[in-house]
């Protein structure tokens, strides 16, 4: 992937993730070390008034998976995400992205969204990648 290959407005291929399962949330809790019980314990979810919700960082992990499927990991210099809606087990997340700016020093800026099947935006963000030139 070269700096010249990406033009402003270019749309990246949609990355479709499998539906989120409760087992995945338990696995993610162990992997990440985020043991906030809101993500794994039914009663805590009820107490909070939301029910069990997915870790925001699982969604950002999926965003990053999408981004690094488009541009190699080593070229990603910055990624920032704002969480806008809660995500529940059973939802399937899609990652979409679009180039919004090309800066000097071979820096490409793109927006990225995590949406469910109904189009609700769960997280929105920006990433910056430094890409080599062809010549």
């Amino acid at each position: 992937m070269y700096y010249e290959d990406l033009q402003v407005g270019a749309i990246f291929p949609v990355m479709k993730k499998d539906p989120i399962t409760r087992v995945q949330l338990v696995r993610f809790a162990g992997a990440s070390g985020d043991f906030n019980p809101l993500h794994t314990v039914e009663e805590v979810g009820e107490q909070a008034g939301t029910g069990i919700i997915a870790h925001g960082m699982l969604i950002m992990g999926m965003v990053s998976h999408g981004v690094t499927s488009w541009i190699p990991r080593k070229n990603i210099k910055r990624i920032q995400v704002r969480f806008s809606k809660l995500t529940y087990p059973g939802e399937s997340i899609e990652i979409v992205g679009r180039v919004i700016e090309k800066k000097a020093d071979n820096l490409v800026v793109a927006e990225v969204l995590a949406k469910n099947g109904e189009g609700d935006v769960k997280a929105s963000g920006i990433f910056e990648a430094n890409l080599p030139s062809r010549n």
């Binding site: 993730k17 995945q24 992997a31 990440s32 985020d34 690094t68 210099k77 910055r78 920032q80 704002r82």
Partner: protein, 150 residues
């Protein structure tokens, strides 16, 4: 809780943590990311990496396993864990991070304020963490913004 503004400038206890390849793989599996660079040194080298790289969100693993856990962090920041939302997360990568590296982490609260909206008050607390490797190179900066509902 006491005034959230008191948190501004608070420096958290520094810590160090090794980047373990097993933890990289475990996180990639949990996310459902099948990129072979996270699973195999050979695949990573073929793709042009000097070692097994970390997924962009891996620094969370360093934070929670090496530093404060979620509940501990909430106690230190005097925030009610049930009323916390993860508002925003940012990672800047200034250098490479590979399995086998040792990261030293220093963290500080760089924003602590309250906004009163139609649905009540919200506290915004941003913590910035700086990750330095065993060679003394600053390789990443993370910024997490927590939203605390009143």
């Amino acid at each position: 809780m006491s005034d959230v503004k008191d948190l501004l400038g608070l420096e958290l206890e520094p810590y160090s943590m090794a980047v373990e390849k097993g933890k990289i793989k475990e996180l990639a599996i949990a996310i459902g990311d099948d990129n072979p660079i996270y699973y195999s040194l050979e695949a990573a080298k073929e793709a042009g990496y000097d070692g097994i790289p970390v997924p962009p969100t891996f620094l969370q693993v360093i934070e929670y396993h090496g530093g404060y856990g979620f509940q501990e962090k909430m106690e230190v920041l005097k925030l009610n864990p049930v009323k916390i939302l993860h508002g925003d997360q940012e990672y800047e990568f200034l250098g490479d991070i590979y399995a086998g590296d040792e990261l030293h982490v220093t963290s500080k609260i760089i924003r602590a304020d309250t906004k009163i909206g139609s649905s009540g008050g919200l506290d915004f607390v941003t913590e910035e963490s700086r990750y330095t490797n065993q060679k003394g190179e600053l390789v990443a900066i993370a910024r997490i913004t927590l939203i605390h509902r009143h």
